[in-house]
């Protein structure tokens, strides 16, 4: 592997600039003549916009323009789109209301923009915004998913009667009913998957710069996928054709999914920069982030699992209501359907599954993909069900899981996914050993003598990553293909640039991607740089989300590397007067195997560019590109076990131990993988114990600041005990499965299973706040 190759714990190259404050984020960029945008946002969850009076604001110092939703309509700027078409069980397409970037007529959630002030400085824009008078006529609002589907509920969009976006089904209902009819035992569970606010460290921001002479736009934006942003902005919003729009996503401070989507603010900035003839910058603040970044999760589910007399699962029925908020965000429709229900088989052999998902509009912030996107909801549901079943059937929860594990691969589940490989027993064994599962009973007794309630909770998760085979997702309604592209440029002096369509916003691509090059060529990573995040530099890309950058993005790099190496070997063979088949690459040199004849990479590169002596017919240059479309999803899986204590006096949870045994396939940089798992686990624990984006009955957000929304902090979480049980992914040449979301997918069930074990009561919703736990302990 070499000191910097695949498998090495290489220190992250990018951290030097991040930890010395030299990162370059959108808000750090200042353009000549730049103006600043401040959005005027609805304080109401549902209201008619009757009039907007900007006359006083326009007279204020430094104000360049006040633009409204009606002007967007007049200029024929398109509405925001949802890029994945879902078909309801009755065959009808999903029912969507229009989402204009600023509301000309009706606002449907607190924080929705109705107008924007453009001024010479941020503070002047903010001052003037206070002078814009918006006349609203309040309408009844609804925030709760069950309230929204009741007869007589306030209606959000005329296009979606009953606030229903779709009623979608998957699986075989007849076979599932038959399994339940014959069941020896049926286990039932109602669970809520709490709504979360993503809270990337860097709030969203955008700078739009219109060049009138070239009729060309440049957009700097906090995006996880700048090419997708350009595609969507060009194809649907009537702002600029692709060749007249450059999208740059420079350093981006975290995304967790929330920066996949196209948001109103960057559309408005682009449009406004042309209107005012100057660059327009918008930087969101934390309150805007809480109000307008797409939220995550928010499911209400009833599920039933059927077992035979030997405690084998025979069927699963699920009905989920998914709260989409007030509008359908870019990939929202796919999250509770193809990213959720297709994982409902978990790690288990379940012969028959039937799931129904009802998508619902409410007067809340739109909901879309957030770290894990559908898979945390599926994993939480299945793992809570397994725990509930073990308690009801009075069997050890680890044993119940083990006896139902899938052990033969490939395995076709009843819900589309075909698992390629895995070893679920191995990760369960590793986790049980790491936590000393066998010794738990004694530890529990010991804790009891000290007045503490100790519990242990298992969670065996599986997820589908590396999205995705384009043909497969296309057949399921996706509006895009989910391949990745890469380019390898060997410069004439032998340094290497890798251009990738993946985007790093914290994941460490600038290090891991170099490690592949170091591994193959034997050059130090200091000679390699990773170029990403600019549509003018990188040929194309689908971006980073769904733990796809290594499995898909790095494989595309590998494909391009192979092409480059093949050409370089021809050049080397020609120079060394050897046969191409005898050339091997070692330590940055092209060697004739079994001899001491060699030519260094820089000499090969130089030969490629001087073109003085190339093989006949060969083009000059050493630069290759590739597109890689995966053949299947990848299936990271593992077992998390959590041991904790509950203080019966306060209901407060304290961790004793948390072990994670993951199977991510091949690890490129174990240190970075550990960092990803740590972060994911913290988010999963955050969901289980602390985080909840709450609205009151009128749709007013209750948790729109860090004083109310509880983010996990270092002292809320334990020191994690990580290990890996590896089966290589057969679907890609590097054997990679992906590691970016696992922690967030698997952790919350382990925590809730442990708390409910500790307190001896099974019904407990997330977040398990001390108050909630205390009330559950003391409930009759």
């Amino acid at each position: 592997m070499g000191v910097e190759g695949i498998g090495a714990r290489v220190v992250r190259k990018e951290d030097k600039r991040f930890i010395t404050g030299k990162g370059r984020y959108v808000d750090d960029i200042k353009l000549l003549g730049m103006t600043h945008a401040h959005f005027i946002r609805s304080p109401h969850a549902h209201a008619k916009v009757k009039a907007i009076d900007s006359s006083a604001a326009l007279k204020m110092p430094g104000v360049v323009a006040v633009l409204t939703g009606q002007q967007l309509v007049d200029d024929k700027v398109g509405n925001l789109i949802c890029g994945w078409a879902i078909t309801s069980k009755d065959g009808s397409p999903m029912k969507m209301g229009a989402w204009p970037a600023m509301a000309p007529e009706t606002v449907r959630f607190v924080g929705q923009a109705v107008a924007v002030v453009i001024a010479d400085s941020k503070n002047l824009a903010r001052d003037a915004a206070e002078a814009v008078v918006v006349d609203y006529e309040e309408l009844p609002a609804v925030a709760d998913v069950h309230a929204a589907i009741k007869a007589g509920a306030p209606q959000l969009h005329p296009e979606a009667p009953g606030n229903q976006v779709y009623d979608w089904v998957i699986g075989d209902e007849g076979a599932t009913d038959a399994a339940f009819a014959k069941a020896a035992n049926v286990v039932k569970l109602d669970v809520t998957n709490n709504r979360l606010a993503p809270n990337a460290m860097e709030p969203r921001a955008a700078i739009a710069d219109y060049d009138a002479a070239e009729e060309h736009f440049t957009l700097y934006t906090t995006s996880q996928n700048p090419h997708v942003a350009r595609l969507v902005l060009s194809a649907f919003y009537n702002i600029a054709p692709e060749h007249k729009l450059r999208v740059i996503a420079p350093d981006v401070g975290g995304g967790f999914g929330s920066k996949i989507f196209i948001y109103p603010e960057e559309m408005v900035a682009l449009w406004a920069s042309k209107k005012v003839g100057r660059p327009v910058k918008w930087t969101g603040d934390r309150t805007e982030a809480f109000l307008t970044d797409a939220h995550g999760r928010d499911h209400v589910t009833h599920a039933e699992m059927a077992f035979d007399a030997n405690n084998k699962i025979t069927g699963l029925k699920v009905k989920t209501y998914a709260n989409f908020g007030a509008y359908m965000s870019l990939f929202s429709s796919s999250v509770p359907t193809y990213l959720y229900a297709t994982l409902l088989s978990g790690q288990y052999n379940i012969p028959a599954i039937h799931a129904e998902v009802v998508g619902v509009y409410t007067n809340t912030t739109p909901v879309d993909a957030y770290r894990g996107a559908g898979r945390p909801e599926a994993s939480y549901l299945i793992e809570r069900l397994m725990e509930t079943a073990a308690r009801q059937l009075k069997v050890d929860p680890a044993q119940l899981r083990r006896s139902n594990f899938i052990t033969q691969f490939p395995h076709q589940t009843p819900v589309i996914m075909a698992y390629d490989t895995g070893d679920f027993n191995a990760s369960l064994d590793a986790a049980m050993k790491a936590i000393d599962y066998a010794g738990f009973a004694a530890r529990k007794a010991q804790a009891k003598s000290q007045g503490k309630l100790r519990g242990i909770g298992v969670s065996c998760y599986i997820e589908a990553c590396g999205i995705a085979p384009s043909k497969a997702v296309g057949s399921l309604g996706a509006g895009v293909g989910l391949w990745e592209s890469a380019e390898v440029r060997v410069n004439p002096v032998g340094t290497i640039e890798i251009l990738t369509g993946s985007h790093s916003h914290g994941q460490g691509h600038e290090t891991t991607f170099c490690q592949l090059v170091a591994d193959r060529l034997g050059v130090p990573i200091s000679q390699v740089s990773i170029v990403h995040g600019d549509t003018d530099k990188v040929q194309f890309g689908m971006g980073t989300y769904g733990s796809r950058s290594a499995a898909v993005g790095l494989t595309a790099i590998l494909k391009a590397m192979e092409k480059m190496e093949s050409k370089a070997k021809k050049i080397a063979a020609h120079a060394l007067e050897a046969s191409e088949a005898d050339i091997v690459i070692e330590n940055g040199e092209f060697k004739v195997t079994g001899t001491d004849k060699a030519i260094a990479l820089p000499m090969v590169a130089l030969a490629a560019y001087t073109a003085h002596n190339l093989p006949d017919g060969m083009e000059p240059g050493l630069k290759e590109s590739a597109f890689y479309d995966p053949s299947n999803f990848t299936f990271p899986a593992g077992t998390y076990i959590c041991e904790l204590e509950v203080d019966p006096g306060t209901g407060k949870t304290s961790f004793v131990n948390f072990v994670a045994a993951d199977d991510f396939g091949r690890l490129i940089n174990p240190m970075i993988v550990e960092g990803q798992v740590h972060g994911g686990l913290v988010q999963g624990i955050g969901q289980a114990l602390l985080e909840h984006a709450i609205y009151d009955a009128n749709g007013q957000p209750v948790t729109a600041s860090f004083m109310d929304y509880a983010m996990p902090r270092a002292d809320d979480v334990p020191s994690f005990n990580l290990s890996h049980t590896t089966t290589l992914c057969p679907g890609n040449p590097l054997g990679i499965k992906g590691c970016g979301e696992a922690g967030a997918i698997g952790a919350s069930a382990a925590v809730i299973n442990a708390i409910t074990d500790a307190i001896g009561k099974n019904n407990l919703e997330m977040p398990a706040t001390p108050d909630r736990v205390w009330r559950t302990i003391h409930a009759a």
């Binding site: 209750v702 809320d716 706040t769 001390p770």
Partner: protein, 266 residues
């Protein structure tokens, strides 16, 4: 419209005079409350008079049976002060639980009690220890100083200069932190004076701010031990309720935190 003029005072008298000359002035100490409020544009003073660099307002001193903390002393200094830890360890411990390190480095006792947040820590200590608030005009006993949510006995332009605490025989503090803000979801300070009086104050619990808990005081006076409170039940009426804690939960916490504070006090 949100312009403000910043003044750095070098003495209490100068601060008072700067305040008097301005149309709508505010004193600034650690800025941990005032600045966020100004950033949100919920306050827009014409002038800000900074007290935090006034030497005579900073320091922790003990003399005889009194511990004095000057008004602009940051929480961190109190938490780490050997003098405070020796005289009233529970008070130093309380300071160590305020917010997070950034808040403790800047936030001050004067700012905290002038603000009188219903979930702030210091007010519980002042009330339970029978402290005296010293201002540039007078001395105010703690029980007369706190007047309900965000309200105190301070007059406009009056500057807190110090808080003096009689050193108790025993004292203890126990806090259940608000999971998001880290203020007190409910916290209780218990103290026993050298003459045997018991005083118990709870913060974060009541809708009208920091409060004494008579039932617990009586029980502890009869028997200074956690088990003395076993049969006590605190009524939930009048207590705060929010997404992080129902009134019933806070009622429970008043008792449980008091028991733990007694254990800590020894």
């Amino acid at each position: 419209m949100y312009q403000t003029t910043y003044h750095r005072a070098s003495s209490v008298d100068e601060a008072a005079s700067l305040f008097g000359k301005a149309s709508e002035a505010k004193f600034l100490a650690g800025g941990q409350t005032l600045l966020p409020v100004m950033k949100q544009r919920l306050a827009s003073p014409s002038d800000v008079v900074d007290l935090s660099k006034i030497k005579e307002l900073i320091g922790v001193e003990a003399s005889g049976d009194t511990l004095t903390i000057k008004a602009a002393t940051p929480h961190y200094d109190v938490a780490t002060s050997d003098t405070a830890k020796k005289a009233i360890p529970a008070l130093a411990y309380l300071a160590s639980l305020i917010g997070d390190p950034a808040v403790r480095y800047r936030g001050t006792i004067g700012g905290s009690i002038a603000n009188n947040d219903p979930a702030a820590d210091y007010p519980a200590a002042l009330l339970a220890l029978g402290a005296t608030v010293k201002t540039n005009k007078r001395s105010i006993p703690a029980q007369d100083f706190f007047k309900g949510l965000f309200t105190t006995a301070l007059e406009d332009g009056e500057i807190i200069t110090a808080v003096s605490f009689p050193v108790p025989a025993k004292a203890g503090y126990s806090k259940m932190r608000h999971p998001a803000s880290r203020f007190a979801l409910t916290a209780v300070f218990v103290a026993q004076t050298k003459s045997g009086e018991v005083c118990v104050a709870a913060t974060g619990a009541s809708q009208s701010g920091v409060m004494r808990v008579g039932a617990i005081e009586a029980a502890l006076k009869a028997n200074w031990s956690p088990s003395a409170l076993d049969s006590i039940s605190i009524p939930a009426s009048g207590l705060l309720a929010d997404i992080h804690g129902s009134a019933e939960y806070r009622a429970n916490l008043v008792k449980v935190m008091a028991q733990r504070a007694v254990t800590a006090a020894g």
